[in-house]
Structure formats: structure tokens, C-alpha cells
Symmetry: C2
Subunit: 370 residues, 2 copies
Amino acid sequence: MRPAHCLRQASGKKELREVHIRDLDTPSVLIDLDVMEHNLRSFQLYCDRHTLRNRPHIKTHKIPQLARLQVDLGAVGITCQKLGEAEVMADAGIDDIFVPYNLLGSHKLARAAQLASRIRLSVTCDTLAVAEGLSEAMHHRGLEISALVECDTGMGRCGVQSPGAALSLAQAMDRLPGLRFAGLMTYPSTHQLAKTTAFLAETMDLCRRAGLDVSVVSSGGTVDMWRAHEVRGVTEHRPGTYIYNDRYIVASGAAAMENCAMHILVTVVSRPTKNRAIVDAGSKTLSSDTLGLDGYGHIVEYPDAKIATLNEEHGYVEVAGDGTTPVLGERLQIVPNHACVVSNLHERVIGVRGDRVEVTWAVSARGKVQ
Amino acid sequence: MRPAHCLRQASGKKELREVHIRDLDTPSVLIDLDVMEHNLRSFQLYCDRHTLRNRPHIKTHKIPQLARLQVDLGAVGITCQKLGEAEVMADAGIDDIFVPYNLLGSHKLARAAQLASRIRLSVTCDTLAVAEGLSEAMHHRGLEISALVECDTGMGRCGVQSPGAALSLAQAMDRLPGLRFAGLMTYPSTHQLAKTTAFLAETMDLCRRAGLDVSVVSSGGTVDMWRAHEVRGVTEHRPGTYIYNDRYIVASGAAAMENCAMHILVTVVSRPTKNRAIVDAGSKTLSSDTLGLDGYGHIVEYPDAKIATLNEEHGYVEVAGDGTTPVLGERLQIVPNHACVVSNLHERVIGVRGDRVEVTWAVSARGKVQ
């Protein structure tokens, strides 16, 4: 990977040489900086207008410099799904991190306490045993952290199943040393708007009647982000993909194709038949996530061509039209189905402005599965 | 990640402490060394019996120490799909590497020539322009490498489409400086046994009549590996997944579940309902590859439970039976659908013998997309 600018000898003197997209090898993950910055500013503006706190999920980029940018633009802190991601972000100076994931086991509890001793860490629980583990780990070290009750308001993943169960857990958390019951968390938010609103409203009501302060109600998701204010009581939102956007977000209607900042630069490496082109990006580059979409990405230069199949290092493109293009060696840009998993596959991404390379970022929090 | 053995102070003196699977955090990728070694030896023995050369594809493990082990057990060299993988392996002392992938563009051609100057590199082409690029890059530097014609014998991916096209390309390659036409390559081999055999036989016949020596006929795939000798003329085979095996290979019949060396150690992090358990391994740990299978992996302890859905950090398990197990905090081992893509997601894997940790390997060639 080249640095953004290279010094080279030319005519006997050094000059700063610009690097362009055409100079890059493929596959490379490009981030259009103008588009990315627009995406970040637009949602922050929305939050400011609706008096919502913005707490972006860094899973989409996994890059400390971009987390810093999100905070500098107005985010109150960030969201990480794994402690390993949070540790990378804390090392880079991010000091308010929410980990909305049940933390279990001695390794993770010790690391959570270590994190809580140096940053403002908050977490979620969906059952008493998880709260008790956190309580013991924190209290033992003289720490206290905010903990939210994860509510399953329709996703069918983790979370308490009813407002009554949420209240019981909140009351238990409120009594445990080392934990401070701070409110409620759900994901996604507007997918089932009426159900989510009803679940959260009833839980807030139960908590308040029980004398519990619900200071945070945290919702999430990029698909839902422009409607986050419609869920009554929500105080903060956790969008992830909005920084880059992707084909799935475009299909959901939350962004347009021109709002997609992540493009995968690829080369046509084989044209075995008139209707088949093979590109040098397979599931190792694009991931095999379809998210219910047809095909594995959108080819900017050939929007009618379908990426029909992926092997690890091969993308099979069904060529549209008369089959004369794309030609062998031609370079294409692909908007991936799912930007987050692409970030997790790559060591580096390249920030470009127009066709000029401006920066290379290490994806420092990639691969942090623990 | 812990080292395999940790020195600790105990009773005032240092002792070597064994690390067991129970000491590991989750998710972790475990490799059962006894099973892996058995897998490697079994196929090498098959090759020796059938006078086939074994040239394993390292995409499954991406670990130089395991490539070394494959060669030490009798492999003639290795196969890499990407130059970045080949460079890692060459740096580790592997000196015979086959890259069966069309190499295009100035970056890759320069790197291929650099590799060819220090190891025995061989490649494939499926069209004249690719051969010409390689020829120029090698000849310019005074190098000559072996090149095989990639034949599409039924896969429908890259490769020449007919024996006649194979002959034409072979003749052109034979004339180009810097390249030495060495034979034919196909993948997979026995999926369409009659078609593959007929394509290769006709091509070999055409080449020999034209005075071209077909010294190598290279076939590939773990699914096909025990039948590699049935394809007349094949001189070497390139199995990848056989080192670990996985749920897909078991479904294909080429291995049994007890031959699967890769297990993902996970924890049940949520039990929101009687029939749903959530584990801390999602697509970031297991990948979203289904390879046509139902569900995302085989749970060793609960073979009837289905991993029905994955998000990035969550695996949704449909619990079978009365729903009382697995319990929150329980640790499970999952045989993944596709071992190769799991390796590509992780920085490290942990070699275990029985329940004892023996070694931790960095997956040094992971993420090499270029």
C-alpha cells in the first residue's frame, strides 16, 4: 500500500507526487471523503435538530481516526459491540464508549473493569446473571458503570421479552453495587414502530412508577435513523452504516447511491465467455452477505450487470448488453451490499477526494472478535 | 491471546503452567492437532499410492508453519491464489509456489517477477493478453517461469472454453520468451468427471501432436480429492480444505465429522426465550457462507440445534428438545460450514491436543487480497 504522497526523484530534484486512483493496485477499498463527510454531517444535523444524542456504532469503519471525527462533529461518544474494539478506540483517546452486549466470563469482566477504570464505559444486560457478573467485577475494583436494560422490541435477538421483565431487571440492577441503572436500549427502532414505541413507553412508565430514573433510551440502526425521533422517549441513536452507506441501505431507502462512500476498486481478470466477466474480488473482499439482495454488489460503471456468484477470490459478473464490455483489464468500482463486513475483511482503506488519494487508514479494530 | 504456556510465580518458584481450552476466552478458533495431522498424512498417503504430486492450496490455513508441515510430509510445493499470500509463504522459506490466477497490471507483474527471482514460481493463463504481460515482465528481467493453461472443464469460472482454444494458447505461450508452457490446470476435477476427462484428454492429444510437452496436469478441490486419480492424465492435485475439513466437506462425503479439525469455541451469551439461544459468534467469526447448507454450522454438543441466523456478532441458535439447555454461559464448539473463510477472518488460531493448548499460530497470510 502506498502512502498518499511519495517523494520521487525527477529532473534531479525531489517533488511531491500525487497518487491517483489509477495508480492503485486492485482490489482496494476506497472511501470517498466528500461523501463520507457529508453523511456524517447530515445525520449529526438531524440529531441536533431533534435534540437526539448521536452515538455512532464504529463497527462499520473500525478506524479510530473516524471515531474521533464523529465525536468532533458532535457525537456524544461511540458504540462498540466487542471489548476488543472498545480497547482500540480507548487507546486512541475516545473516552465514552457504550458496549451493548451481554458481557460474560472472567476474561471479559476483567477487561471491562480495566476499561471502566480509564474511560466512561456503559453496557447492557438482558438477564440478572449478566448484571450480577458485571456488578461483582466493577464493585470489587471500586468502580460503578451505567447499565441499560436491553429490550427485545421486535428484533427477536437478545433482550428482555416484556416491559414487566425489563422492570424486574432494572430494579435488580438498581440494587446491585457497581452498576447504575441508566435506562433502556433497543435495536432496531422503527422496523416495528408501534410495537417498539409501546414496549418502551410501558417500560418507562413502569420504571418511573417504581421510582427508577430512565435517563437514557437508546435506539439503533441506519435504516431507521431518519425516523429515530418518531419513537417517543428515545434520547440517543446509534447508527453504524451511515458513515459509508451501502447497497442495502440504498435499498432500504435511507440513502441514495450517491451517498455511498465505500467503493471496491477491482479489475476484470478474465473474460472467458461473451456474457461472463470475472473480477478479482470475491467473498474475501466483498463478503458473501446478500442481506436479501439479488447479487453481491452494484457495479458503478455497469449498473445493469449482476455480480451473480462469489468464490473467495473470484466475482462472477453476468454481463449485460452486447457483451463487448467490460474488457479484460478494465477497472470497475463496486458498491458493496454491506459495508461493515467489508471493513472487517481488510487491513486498510484508502480515502480519496475526487480521483486523488488523500489518506490511508489502518482498520485498527478489525478482527476483534473477543 | 495467551501463549501456550505461561510462566507464573507459585509458592515462590516458577513453574510451567498448562493452558487448557477451558482457560480460553471466546470466540476462539481451535485446531485439533491430532485430527489435522491425520488429515494431512491420509491424503499424502493417497497421493503416494497413486503417484500423484500433492500441491496443497494454503487458502484454508494461511499459516506458513502449516505450509511447511505440508511440504515436510511430502507435498511438492504449495498453491496460493494471491501474490500477497505467496509472498508471505516465500518469506517463510516455501520455495515452490503455484499461483493459478490470471495476473494482470504493472503492480502484480512486477511482484510476480520479484517472486520468480527468488522461488520457483508457476502460474496459469486463460488468454493471450495475460500470457503476453507475464512474458514481458519475466523476459525483461531475464527470468523464465512455467505457465499452465487454465481450462474450464465445467466450473464455468475462468479458463479457456475448448481444447482447441487451449492448444492455441499453449502454442502462443510456447513461443513467448520468459514463459515455458508446462501443461494444464483445472478446477474442480471430478465434479463432472466425464467432461473433465474428455476435455483434458483431447487437449493433451492436441498438444502432443503439435509437439508440445504437457508435463503437468493439475486438478484441485477437497471434495474431489479421493477421486483425483480417476481423471486420466492428472499429475498433481491441489486440495485446500482437507487440512481442517468443515461441514461442507462432510456433506460432500469426502470426510466425516470426526475429521473436522477446526472448531469455533463460543459462549451462550443470551437465552431470551425457551427456544432461542444467542452465541457470541456471528458472521464476523463464522462468515455468512452457507455453501448451500441449512444453517451456519454444526454444534458438536447439540447436533440437533440449528444455527439459523447470523448477525455480525450474534449467532441465533434454534434450541431443540425441551429448551432447558444450553444454559447462559455454557461454552459450545461449532464446526463451521467453510473453514477457509473462517481462517481469513481471524488473526490467530489455537492448536490444541485433547483439551490442552499446544500452540498459537498467527494467520500471517490472512487478508491478502492483492
